[in-house]
Symmetry: C2
Subunit: 335 residues, 2 copies
């Protein structure tokens, strides 16, 4: 039960391997009759070209690499689904890598993807990453590269993001309008561009309402639950603690919720809580969390589209796509 090869077909039809190859790829200068004979036999024998051989010969793999912080984050699981859908439609496979928020892992992932000659790479940055040489290497090799969500501002590449500045501003604005004036921010790592954008949106909206910006209300976290919990506790222990907390991710918001619950602090009566991402879990916790809805699947699809544009035409201009978001008001903010 060996796999069928071109040679097998060629032998059976008494023609050469190259003719078979050309007939199967519908080469213009092959006679109708041989084409039909070859294609019929190929179908009958269920011939599948060996991708390993094709890869070696063509120096490409019909595969794109995807690097995300963690697949267990619902956001990235959905984004991957979007990427995969487009990739499959284009006849590509994807190989998924997790950086686990680690710079070293991310570098190793890139090395491994380049070694296995993926045709393109889609990335959302690890929380730790603050150097970008490994991505420069991707570009040097002429491999198309697209970032999404956690993007890299320093590199000349296509990107898909949401308008983090406005989304954060909108969340803060809603808190202010509901009467909360002292708003703590659970921010992400200051190396992460989108985290800083959200911070800027927060500041902007305070300024717009003539509220003071108190740096002690800004707590930077890595994206772990434990850090989210600890930083919440830190905010609560301030001499003048906040009466609302805006977390730049739902994971952090959930961690905050647990910290509050452990201290019998009521939401939203004692303190309001707003998250970011519309993770499914925000709808089932109690109270349901106000959060920012984005569409990670669409973001993945868009990133894949941008990549395939470059794959088709390497001269395509780089492009920055900004997707829409929506504030979902739920019961973690008092009306």
């Amino acid at each position: 039960m060996k796999p069928i090869t071109l040679k097998e077909i060629a032998d059976q039809l008494n023609i050469s391997i190259s003719t078979v190859s050309r007939a199967l790829s519908d080469h213009p200068r092959i006679s109708r009759t041989t084409k039909q004979a070859v294609q019929a036999l190929a179908k009958e024998l269920n011939f599948q070209p060996n991708p390993l051989a094709m890869n070696l010969r063509m120096q490409r793999t019909q595969t794109i690499g995807v690097i995300v912080p963690k697949i267990s984050y619902a956001f990235y699981a959905s984004a991957i689904t979007g990427i995969e859908a487009i990739a499959i439609r284009e006849g590509y496979n994807i190989v998924i890598c997790q950086s686990n928020e680690s710079y070293e892992q991310e570098v190793a992932n890139i090395k491994s993807l380049l070694l296995s000659r993926v045709d393109g790479v889609i990335v959302s940055l690890a929380g730790e990453t603050k150097q970008y040489d490994h991505f420069q290497e991707v570009l040097n090799r002429g491999v198309p590269l697209v970032f999404f969500n956690r993007v890299c501002p320093e590199l000349p590449v296509s990107q898909v993001v949401i308008d983090n500045f406005s989304a954060a501003a909108q969340a803060v604005s809603s808190l202010i309008q509901h009467g909360y004036q002292r708003i703590g921010l659970l921010a992400g790592p200051s190396t992460i561009e989108i985290s800083n954008e959200r911070l800027r949106g927060y500041q902007q909206m305070l300024a717009q309402h003539q509220l003071p910006f108190d740096p002690s209300l800004v707590a930077h976290c890595d994206y772990s639950e434990s850090d989210g919990y600890d930083q919440t506790v830190h905010l609560l222990q301030l001499p003048n603690p906040p009466n609302a907390i805006f977390a730049v991710s739902d994971r952090l918001a959930i961690a905050a919720l647990q910290a509050l619950r452990d201290r019998d602090i009521r939401i939203p009566e004692d303190i309001a809580l707003v998250g970011f991402n519309n993770d499914p879990v925000t709808a089932v916790v109690s109270p349901p969390l106000t959060t920012i809805d984005q569409n990670p699947e669409q973001m993945g699809e868009t990133a894949a589209h941008l990549l395939f544009q470059q794959l088709c035409d390497s001269k395509t201009d780089i492009e920055q796509v900004v997707l829409k978001t929506q504030l979902l008001e739920r019961n973690s903010v008092k009306k």
Copy 2:
């Protein structure tokens, strides 16, 4: 900036390609001196053997395929992490496929993995699957195959499971001991072995306490939230509805929770609720759900171990590993 090849090294040292190849793989009959020269130059040039060429030549890829229902299920995201850890340690890559609970997708996944010549496959079955020819094909080709969690009883392959029967029995027993006697079961598809095992555990425990088994209290669901929701509603509308619900997965339990909440039915005062998996979400919903804790990462690691055993020695006996579970009692059951 072309990648370095064996030929490059051979030319620089004025020796043959085959000598270089042998020197790098530490062949016994190559002189110490040439070995050192070759290895030094390889390091200096940062030589990396081209995996595409190796794959074609060796007819193996140092890659194992992993098929799971969905990576967005926390259980499978963790299991993948476990598999990946072992694979990397063994110098293998993994390629992750999602069946999305679809039989057709699963068949397509298998085809794609076989085509790209993975060296082994680890699978957890799609909810829809009830035929196993595609797996038989894997075995026919001599590709090692291991199942975990949702396993296939008909095939002579190694498997990793928990003791689903006992775990379910323990959950039901706990409900009974807390005074609940009319227990509804949100079961999985009847094609899925582990779902049936949990059903049998449920029946057994009722029998052991001389409680009647009422088939109308068993609602089979696919694994979707919407079905979980609908089946919960169905149970509630029975002439003689249950006063406790045991869901065979946390996803279903969460769906049930939402159905109950939407009807202002209190948990656990009006009805008790028990899940299965210890999904992180069960700890943050309110009330926190009693559930069965298993260790998906360990399950993934074990599956990978079993696979690598077969990969090393194809005569290894098939093996069934049963992992321990633990009942976590939380507030969704009245004390």
